[in-house]
């Protein structure tokens, strides 16, 4: 049997080589299908790897707490809010918190102006502890201080993308920018952090929390986020549980009722990213299997033509002693080799395409092709070859030698 397979592979390769251009066109469907799946996988895997890297740089022990309103309540106009009081409760009653800080996002206008230059940025009110929680460090000047908050000073720390967007001088310290109608003095410039999931972390403006509250007005309604960093000797899981029970208690949530807040850990964010990438992969997998199906039909079609063309050859082989399985294997292996070659070319082309795309989108991580994707693509194209080769091969094997010899 092994002997037969080797001989069949030899003759299959000879036959594919003899019809070079036709073989290429036949297998093009498989090439395109496999190339597209490998390109997409290489991009998403590259993305996943780089996101994972950045999340771990972020610190796996920082938690974000935000208000959560179920959709039904939102429709009814109710809105859960997290207030500075909640922050105070956590600070007082939860152990194992290294630092904690409120975050207040600008809700009205996130426009900033410097001279005649205007831009939009992410503007957040926060405190001194955010430096530690969010791992933000200044390259020049200083970070927000506690006294900035106590006296509601109009000062800002900016990322270097903001400096570039506003055409600020290289050292922007002590320049004034306009934020929501008020003038803020720049006291610090952050170290660049780069992109995370296409979101520029350097396009950011930090102002004191209390200042942000005052310029937004309506302080009773303030909805804040709380970020905290778990201290190195404490367990993230138990801190999460403690925060949850303290908040439920403080906000008067009955047992059995849902939390009206949510606690996010970097692992959860990573899971979300994984879910999104998984979904994308499944959807694309579906599309690609359709294109492989079409490619397979192309192979079946050309194999049927090939069987008809070679009817006389099949007759000759049968006359000189070829058994059914000799002929069957010869055509089956030809179909499999054809589609696996397509798969191989597809993997190479897809990898090239992925690298090209990754290289041409600024800030996009380099493409990586995991081994399982290559094996899967080759295995699947081999399977397609068997599936669509079996019918033509069976037809060839069942030819009557006399009829086949007489065929013109």
């Amino acid at each position: 049997m092994f002997f037969v397979i080797i001989e069949s592979t030899r003759s299959a390769l000879a036959s594919i080589w003899a019809h070079g251009f036709r073989s290429f066109l036949t297998t093009l469907g498989i090439v395109i299908g496999v190339a597209s799946v490998i390109a997409v996988i290489s991009l998403t895997q590259g993305l996943r790897a780089s996101v994972g890297e950045q999340f771990s740089a972020l610190g796996s022990n920082s938690l974000t707490i935000s208000a959560y309103t179920p959709l039904q309540d939102q429709i009814q106009g109710r809105r859960a809010r997290l207030t500075p009081d909640d922050l105070e409760i956590i600070e007082r009653r939860v152990d194992g918190v290294a630092s904690i800080t409120p975050l207040l996002y600008a809700t009205r206008s996130s426009q900033i102006r410097y001279g005649s230059q205007t831009t939009f940025s992410q503007i957040m009110g926060t405190g001194y502890a955010y430096r530690d929680v969010g791992q933000f460090y200044v390259q020049t000047g200083r970070f927000l201080a506690n006294s900035d908050n106590d006296t509601r000073r109009r000062v800002a720390v900016i990322g270097d993308a903001v400096r570039d967007n506003l055409n600020l001088p290289d050292n922007p310290i002590n320049e004034y920018v306009e934020l929501g109608g008020e003038w803020f003095r720049i006291v610090g410039l952050l170290e660049p952090k780069g992109d995370i999931m296409g979101f520029n972390q350097d396009d950011i403006v930090l102002v004191p929390f209390a200042t942000m509250q005052s310029i937004q007005g309506n302080q009773a309604q303030t909805d804040i986020q709380i970020q905290l960093r778990v201290s190195d000797d404490a367990d993230v899981e138990s801190v999460v549980n403690r925060v949850e029970s303290v908040l439920r208690n403080a906000r008067g949530i009955e047992p059995g009722q849902r939390d009206d807040f949510q606690i996010q850990t970097p692992e959860q964010l990573m899971e979300t990213v994984d879910n999104v990438i998984g979904m994308v992969t499944i959807v694309l997998g579906g599309i690609v299997s359709i294109s492989l199906l079409v490619g397979g039909i192309g192979i079946m079609n050309i194999m049927l033509v090939s069987v008809t063309e070679r009817t006389r050859e099949i007759g000759i082989c049968k006359a000189i002693g070829a058994k059914r399985h000799h002929i069957l294997l010869q055509f089956l292996i030809e179909a499999v080799v054809l589609s696996m070659l397509g798969g191989l070319v597809g993997v190479a082309a897809g990898y090239g395409l992925g690298m090209l795309v990754a290289a041409n989108i600024p800030g996009f991580p380099p493409a990586t092709v995991p081994l399982w994707a290559v094996m899967l693509a080759l295995g699947f194209s081999g399977f397609v070859g068997v599936l669509f080769g079996i019918l033509p091969a069976g037809k060839a094997a069942n030819l009557d030698p006399i009829d086949a010899l007489r065929y013109e």
Partner: protein, 235 residues
């Protein structure tokens, strides 16, 4: 026991609603080292006879004994094995594989009996030397003349060392000079001890053989040894 023994072989074909008796009760014995020509007009049943003898087809009824085995009831796969081991075919239109060189064509039947590469090549080279084609082994069939192609086909038939060589109009596509060459080769093979069966409609060819079987309407009409060659010339 004879090399080939046919007993009361019939072959029926359904042609629409009527049945054609291609062979109608054939009984014949062919001994080892026999040199037989089957002649007859078209429709006489000689092609069907060749298909049955060559194990390409099975008789409707009757017994066929080839080299000490009964072959009339074998499955298609078993018949393929018999064809590979016992029979060497030589066709009118050569029937070489067009994309394979002379050497590969001759090696082909050995694949089906699992002979390894180097041994296969050596055996094929030897068969090609036997038909004086040793220096054209790497040519494709369309780079060879008709006579050379037929000699490749003969080498392919010889390479498996079969019990019988079965030639169907072997010179039908050849000019007279090549015909003489090929017939000389057949005569030599006969002298070397091979058993040859030819199907032809040319008396010239048939006269090379030792025995002529004339077929008519699916029956054996005449089965005679050829007269000595000198008498034929005086005719």
């Amino acid at each position: 026991m004879a090399l080939i023994e046919l007993q009361d072989i019939t072959k029926l074909y359904e042609m629409g609603d009527q049945t054609v008796r291609a062979l109608d009760g054939i009984s014949i014995r062919i001994e080892k080292n026999d040199y037989v020509a089957f002649i007859g007009s078209s429709g006489s049943g000689k092609s069907t006879m060749l298909n049955i003898l060559g194990c390409l087809d099975r008789p409707t009824s009757g017994r066929y004994h080839l080299n000490e085995q009964n072959v009339e009831n074998l499955t298609p796969n078993e018949l393929a094995g018999i064809r590979n081991h016992e029979i060497g075919f030589i066709f009118q239109s050569f029937n070489l594989l067009p994309r394979a060189t002379a050497l590969y064509n001759v090696m082909q039947p050995l694949i089906y009996r699992n002979v390894g590469w180097s041994r296969r090549k050596a055996m094929a080279m030897e068969a090609l030397r036997r038909v004086n084609l040793a220096e054209r082994v790497n040519h494709l069939p369309n780079q060879l003349s008709g006579g050379q192609r037929q000699r490749v086909a003969i080498a392919r038939a010889l390479v498996t060392n079969p019990s019988i060589l079965l030639a169907d109009e072997p010179t039908g596509n050849l000019d007279s000079r090549t015909t003489t060459e090929i017939m000389q080769l057949f005569d030599e093979l006969h002298r070397e001890g091979h058993t040859l069966i030819l199907v032809t409609h040319e008396d010239e060819i048939a006269r090379h053989c030792k025995r002529i079987v004339e077929m008519k309407d699916g029956r054996i009409h005449r089965d005679v040894p050829t007269e000595p060659a000198d008498k034929q010339v005086s005719n």
